[in-house]
Amino acid sequence: MTDTSVRPVRTVVIVGRDEALWLTAAVLQRTFARSDLSFTAVELPSLLRPGEVLPTLGSQAGFHARLGLEEAVLMRALGATFTLGQQYVGWAKTAPPVFVGYSSTGVALHNVPFHHLWLRARASGMNVAFEDFAINAACAKQGRLLTPDADLSGFADADRGFHLPAAPYAEMLRQVAIKRGVRHLPAAHVSPVVKGPEMTAVVLSDGQTVEGDLFIDTTGSDARLLSQMPETGFSSWRQWLPFDRLLTTYAAPATPLPAYAQITAFRSGWAGLFPLRDYTAVQQAYIRDELSDDEAFEAAAMVVKMSLHPQATVTPFEAGRRPAWSGNVIGLGEAAAVLDPLGTARMPALLLGLSHLTALFPLDTSGLESAVYNRTVGQAYDRLRDAQIWLYSLNKRRDQPVWDHLRSVSLPPELAYKREVFAACGHLPVYDDETFDEAWWIAAGLGHGLFPATHDVRADQLAEPELIRHFQTALGYVRKQVEAMPTPDAVSRAATV
């Protein structure tokens, strides 16, 4: 872009739908409320599916706080629930389920990280699962919910994520955004107007032209705006993330209410249960070549062993991403990166893009920030993708084509390196811009049976009795903490009073 066309950004047009549109609009409006920026939200018809859930991490709470939304009120109004992690069932045909939660596991002893102590004890015959030392896993499995004011000082870092019902959540954000002053224009569809290197306007279905200095694309995987700009080609991740169909439906609420999601693998994919207060959200990812949509619905009911609402929606998808910022157009959410539905990656990807955009919100149309934004956010999306590939690659479902492929496919270089180092010595390299921390990666690795060839040699110096005492203390602490925690139902009831 030549200098002559550079002008300050004043008018911002956000085009899109659902939670991506309204979270973006609400957060940007709130952040820049007193500045000279004005925000217009062009709302396209919703693509939310009945029963859709948005699983997300504890970091979402920071955005709620910024928007002035009180957590208890929000949970009550939406019928949302807390989640301590995911339980993976059937990742190996015979092994017990594996819990990967949002907490640390165990406590270091004499500076030796806990997982090395565990590996040493395991080598000498101890038969206690790694996750038994994790407070989130223990809470979840005992039907308890970790409360945020629990004093875990010195013992554990623990967090809890959310299961947010998609439609009411998007609606709540819409109200917040509009109340705070975002201009709202509904449209059936839009046509972007691109002149030279920049987008100048979008023409709405009713003929209205909306001009802007900066356009934010939250339209979803079509990237209706961003895809019109140069150098925004889509890079597919299908070689690593081959699932291409997502079935969404729901079932009766679970009683008692679990504080975690359950993900069950089957021959052609997996089916997930996400408990909410008023219903259980059901998602199933699978491969079209192996399963027709009707077969998929039947498979889902069989896998989750629940009676599913027949109003199921099937959505095709392809995991991958495109450069998120081109010229004066920035894509957020699935317009920038489509993550696989496994684990908790889709909502965190939106948050990542949004928080980086807030920190680098362009002053003018020079696009000076775009290179650093594309690099850091791109890396962050790739690392989220790697976390999903990590989970998939650890499966042991032998003789099932998709799962064999997921287990044997050559990994992206950064992940291959991570796995190689961890498998060699139990040290887990963590890169810049990672969403999941070392504790999460290790819990997933050890939980799914990837055992390093060696452990920290310092663990071998510890006297057996000291080590046993240390483990007993940790287990005792977990037991005591868990007993003191309320049930998810009690928390949910308290929130409805």
């Binding site: 007193r34 500045s35 000076l368 650093v372 040699v457």
Partner: protein, 505 residues
């Protein structure tokens, strides 16, 4: 797996004894024999050493008593570095802490930049508690309460590096580390594997080991001379390649900071210890002579010199692989970056942290060395870029060296960082690597790399609210500052060595 039972360290300078200390803290003598070879005949670098706050974690982990350690090394406290002559203001500080306090998630420097558009908020340094402390020559420990302005900084030490090595040596020997006096004359490698098997000393004695740690300084006896591991030269960016060092008598205003003053062909350091002041001139032999450098250094002292200046030669750069087979180069044997930001002890310390995470067994899985080298590279490169910034962005000094560094091509990563800061005061955060955004902001601002505009998040505070906020902050700093003791008083009360100045063996 077969654990390593014999580790041999070559070199008894700061990094050698730090290595011995870490290993003897981690391994009991019956689990692993640790030997350190050093020679009385080889001098070690160290006139006065300035450190970073991380050294406190190191000492704490060893369980050293702070006051005792400070007495033993004639140490003083350090709140940061004063840079003189690097920017048009004449002097700025890079503190161990942040400027101001952020409000509502908006970085303070953005608020200050906004304030400048409608009022005169004064220097941004007026809002940094550690800078105010330093400028008034006061010191006290930071407090724990995160709401207090007195929590917003960290501190490090100036100490006599020779005494620090000696202090660690006593600590190590008490824990069973074997010290061997002697000079290495031969390095024997296995003909097939290339692994080092033993070192031969001038006395004819030979010292074996399964793991060898080369702390022999610039000479890099094992990693450089014997294994001939590659060296990446960074002189094009950091052209200084000599230093002259000399101690002088201490002065009364015991400053709680290091001073780095830009000179015609480099810069001089000033490091105040309890018993004397360490001084040195880091210069480029391309741009000045040793005689002229000596003149500049002696002219810069604030008290009579206590000795003849000693010359050190070096080359900025890094070994392409610090860990190769069963040899790990550490400290100056692994890389050299001039002491402009006091990073040398930190770089040894972080290497030891990585080694503890990646301690090999006798199979020496190559994945461990690869990961160690990857982590070390990140550290060195990020410090390097930060040092280059000081030279490249120097807006005050005159002379051919300065013309060269101002116009030289710099790494793209640095170019981008400077452009983003100039544009809007933004500093990208990274996970690994030493210097946080606060450090970059201090140097940018101190050296006149001024943002053209502030981040509009700062509009979250109205002009009135911002004016009040800045006034309150200043008042808070003033009132907290007034009650704190002078640095000299604090040292006298906390860690004074009555024998300082007297040689003690």
């Amino acid at each position: 797996m077969t654990p390593i039972r014999n580790i041999t360290i070559l070199g008894g300078g700061t990094s050698g004894w730090m290595t011995a200390a870490v290993l003897s803290r981690a391994f009991t003598p019956d689990a692993c024999t640790i030997r350190l070879i050093e020679s009385e005949e080889i001098g070690i670098v160290g006139v006065g050493e300035a450190t970073l706050p991380q050294v406190r974690d190191f000492n704490t982990w060893l369980g050293l008593d702070e006051a005792e350690f400070m007495r033993a090394t004639n140490a003083t406290f350090k709140l940061g570095i004063e840079f003189r002559g690097w920017g048009t203001s004449g002097s700025y500080h890079h503190p161990f802490g942040v400027h101001g306090q952020s409000a509502g998630g908006i970085p303070f420097h953005q608020l200050w930049l906004k304030a400048r558009t409608f009022m005169d908020p004064g220097s941004i340094e007026d809002y940094a508690f550690p800078i105010r402390l330093a400028r008034e020559n006061r010191f006290d420990f930071p407090v724990e309460d995160p709401k207090s302005i007195r929590s917003a900084y960290a501190y490090a030490y100036h100490f006599d590096a020779v005494l620090y090595a000696r202090y660690l040596r006593q600590w190590c020997e008490a824990r069973g580390v074997q010290r061997i006096e002697g000079q290495v004359t031969g390095v024997d490698q296995n003909a097939e594997t290339g692994f080092v098997e033993r070192l031969t000393l001038a006395s004819g004695e030979s010292v074996g080991g399964e793991l060898f740690i080369d702390c022999s300084g610039f000479r890099a006896v094992i990693a450089g001379q014997a294994l001939n591991l590659g060296w990446e030269d960074w002189t094009p960016w950091l052209p200084c390649d000599r230093a002259l060092a000399v101690p002088c008598e201490r002065t009364d205003d015991l400053t709680p900071y290091t001073r780095a003053t830009a000179r015609e062909a480099g810069w001089t350091w000033r490091i105040p210890l309890q018993h004397r002041t360490g001084n040195g001139y880091v210069f480029s032999s391309r741009f000045t002579t040793e005689d002229r450098a000596r003149e500049v250094l002696l002219g810069a002292l604030d008290a009579p010199a206590q000795a003849e200046p000693r010359l050190l030669r070096f080359q900025a750069g890094r070994r392409t692989a610090s860990w190769h087979k069963n040899v790990i180069a550490l400290g100056l044997a692994s890389g050299f970056l001039e002491p402009l930001e006091s990073t040398s002890i930190y770089l040894s310390q972080i290497a030891l942290t990585f080694l503890m995470r990646l301690m090999p067994d006798t199979r020496f899985d190559p994945a461990l060395a690869r990961e160690f080298n990857r982590l070390i590279d990140i550290e060195y490169e990020r410090v390097r870029d930060f040092l280059i910034l000081h030279y490249h962005a120097n807006s005050a000094s005159q002379g051919p060296l300065w013309d060269y560094v101002r116009s030289m091509p710099v790494p793209d990563s640095l170019k981008e960082k400077m452009a983003l800061f100039r544009h809007r005061g933004h500093v990208q955060q990274y996970k690994d690597g030493l210097f946080s955004p606060a450090s970059w902001i201090a140097v940018f601002m101190g050296q006149d790399v001024m943002p053209q505009a502030y981040d509009r998040q700062a509009d979250g505070l109205s002009e009135e609210a911002l004016t009040g906020y800045l006034k309150d902050l200043k008042r808070k700093i003033d009132s907290n500052l007034a009650v704190l003791p002078s640095h000299a008083e604090f040292v006298a009360a906390h860690c004074y060595n009555p024998n300082s100045g007297i040689s003690h063996d």
